[in-house]
């Protein structure tokens, strides 16, 4: 498939490696005979929100699962903070994961624990914080950031879809990650809640100075949250640019995504 670049003037690759938190070159991943990622190239700068758009099954989630080491790539280079993920020991991978937050599509809250216990889990198990006052302060602060303080003692089963996403986001930001990976953060939500989550992603980027990769199908989320967008099709990126730049693209696949956008 031809690769098109509709927004070359905005695709300014930095001269130095400084400021690049994620660098992916020629990433490949297959499941059996199915080649999901064929040749993925991506750089994410510090403080940047990158949105990856693509149809279901094109390998978007697989790409971000490779970044946190949940899946092992078959080929190519994947560096986070300058270190090759594939060559990391278990201990190094654990240290890396502390710096990367991952928001799952479902929120992935631990359903036997209350929201408070969900947020305490990474603090006590990963950061090994013992001081209960410090734990309480951080839990309340994180929940306040996502506007969910009133649900602190509720179980995940008592929360709505949007509240679960917020609680999942609070659990992600509580360890102050430098990178946040969002896997379809607005899927299954009504338009108003989707917009709230998208605004929240932007406000978290500003407040915590995080870099993010956001996997989504939601054009409104992409418009609100993206500094830069990439469109994935059949295991490769076919276009890259700003939301407005891609909106003007003449590429047929890109146009499909923007056809309902005025």
């Amino acid at each position: 498939m031809d690769e098109v670049n509709v927004d070359t003037e905005k695709k300014s690759k930095p001269e130095s490696r400084e400021g690049i938190v994620i660098a992916i070159k020629g990433l490949k991943k297959s499941f059996g005979a199915k080649h999901v990622l064929k040749d993925i190239n991506l750089e994410v700068k510090k403080g940047e929100n990158v949105v990856i758009l693509g149809r279901s099954g094109t390998g978007k989630s697989v790409a971000i699962q490779c970044i946190v080491g949940l899946l092992k790539p078959d080929g190519g280079s994947l560096k986070v903070f300058g270190d090759e993920v594939a060559g990391m020991t278990d201990k190094e991978l654990k240290q890396l994961r502390i710096k990367i937050g991952f928001l799952f599509q479902s929120g992935a809250l631990y359903d036997s624990m209350t929201v408070r216990e969900n947020l305490e889990f990474p603090l006590t198990r990963v950061l090994k914080i013992k001081d209960q006052q410090e734990i309480d302060k951080r839990v309340e602060e994180a929940l306040d950031s996502v506007g969910l303080l009133e649900a602190i003692d509720k179980l995940p089963s008592d929360l709505s879809g949007g509240m679960r996403k917020r609680a999942g986001l609070a659990r992600t930001i509580i360890v102050n990650p430098e990178i946040i990976l969002y896997d379809e953060p607005t899927t299954g939500l009504d338009p108003i809640t989707s917009r709230e989550i998208s605004d929240l992603i932007t406000s978290i980027q500003k407040k915590y100075k995080t870099s993010s990769i956001i996997i989504t199908h939601d054009m409104e989320c992409a418009r609100i949250a993206s500094d830069r967008m990439l469109i994935m099709d059949d295991g490769v990126f076919i276009a890259e640019g700003s939301f407005d730049g891609l909106h003007k693209s003449t590429n047929k696949t890109v146009r499909e995504f923007f056809k309902d956008i005025l």
Binding site: G32, F102, A108, F121, G168
Partner: protein
């Protein structure tokens, strides 16, 4: 798109064995590395042990009653009615109690662990735990396997006592035997070689139940139907292991104590 390459079933079988060996090694490695999750371990002991007492108690009681009612006519025909307490005690403590309670725990506990971890896998909770830098094996697997290893023998002892009490009540439906005489006969008829091998056997039953439940749940596929498959497969496999362990234990016990 290239065609999917079919993996031969024998290769899958060996891969499964390799996975289970790896899981077994990971379990032991995680017992001794990092912090032990005491609060989760105690919670699991409560869930697995305390919450199974009623089921184990009722089943054991009924088994005690049924065994006495079944044994009585046979022993009377041999003029050995006085042997009823001894026959019940030896058969219940050596074999029937541990196996029945093991199977009940396989049904209740292995399925519950398989379904719980399977559903955590489907809803990405296991992945979430892993990417947060926490260790799901330490938190979920080590605690559950150790809890079943400890609680199944305790449940077995409780079940034995309740079963023998059921036998006493059943005996008094037709005959008249005092509580003290019945239990004096029971205690006099069992010794170290009856009780200890049965207890050791239940430790292995408990380990198998916890291990199989955790393995099936942890390695379930990412689909809602796989939760049911994990639970079902955990019960079937754990039950099978109970019979295999029992057969091995009988051989070892016979060689050590009854030659």
């Amino acid at each position: 798109m290239a065609e999917e390459i079919a993996i031969p079933s024998w290769k899958k079988w060996f891969e499964g064995i390799g996975d289970q060996v790896g899981f077994f090694i990971d379990f032991f490695r995680n017992i001794f590395t990092g912090g032990f999750e005491w609060s989760e371990f105690v919670r699991q002991c409560y869930e697995i042990g305390y919450r199974s007492i009623m089921l184990v108690g009722i089943t054991s009681f009924i088994m005690g009653v049924v065994l006495i009612l079944q044994l009585r006519p046979t022993l009377i025909s041999f003029g050995a009615a006085s042997m009823l307490p001894k026959t019940l005690a030896v058969s219940f403590i050596r074999e029937i109690g541990p196996v029945i309670i093991g199977l009940i725990c396989a049904g209740k506990v292995a399925s519950s662990i398989g379904a719980e971890l399977g559903s955590m896998k489907v809803t990405e909770q296991l992945d979430a735990m892993e990417v947060s830098g926490a260790n799901p094996l330490q938190y979920l697997v080590v605690t559950r396997i150790l809890a079943t290893t400890i609680m199944v023998p305790i449940l077995s002892i409780i079940g034995d006592v309740i079963g023998l009490f059921g036998g006493f009540l059943a005996l008094n439906l037709r005959d008249n035997m005092s509580f003290s005489l019945y239990f004096t006969k029971v205690i006099a008829s069992i010794d170290f070689s009856d009780f200890l091998p049965a207890l050791v056997k239940t430790i292995f039953f408990g380990f198998a139940i916890g291990f199989v439940g955790c393995y099936k749940g942890f390695h379930s596929n990412k689909g809602t139907e796989s939760v049911g498959i994990a639970a079902n497969s955990a019960v079937v496999t754990a039950s099978l292991w109970i019979f295999i362990i029992d057969a091995i234990a009988v051989q070892i016990t016979s060689l050590l104590f009854y030659r």
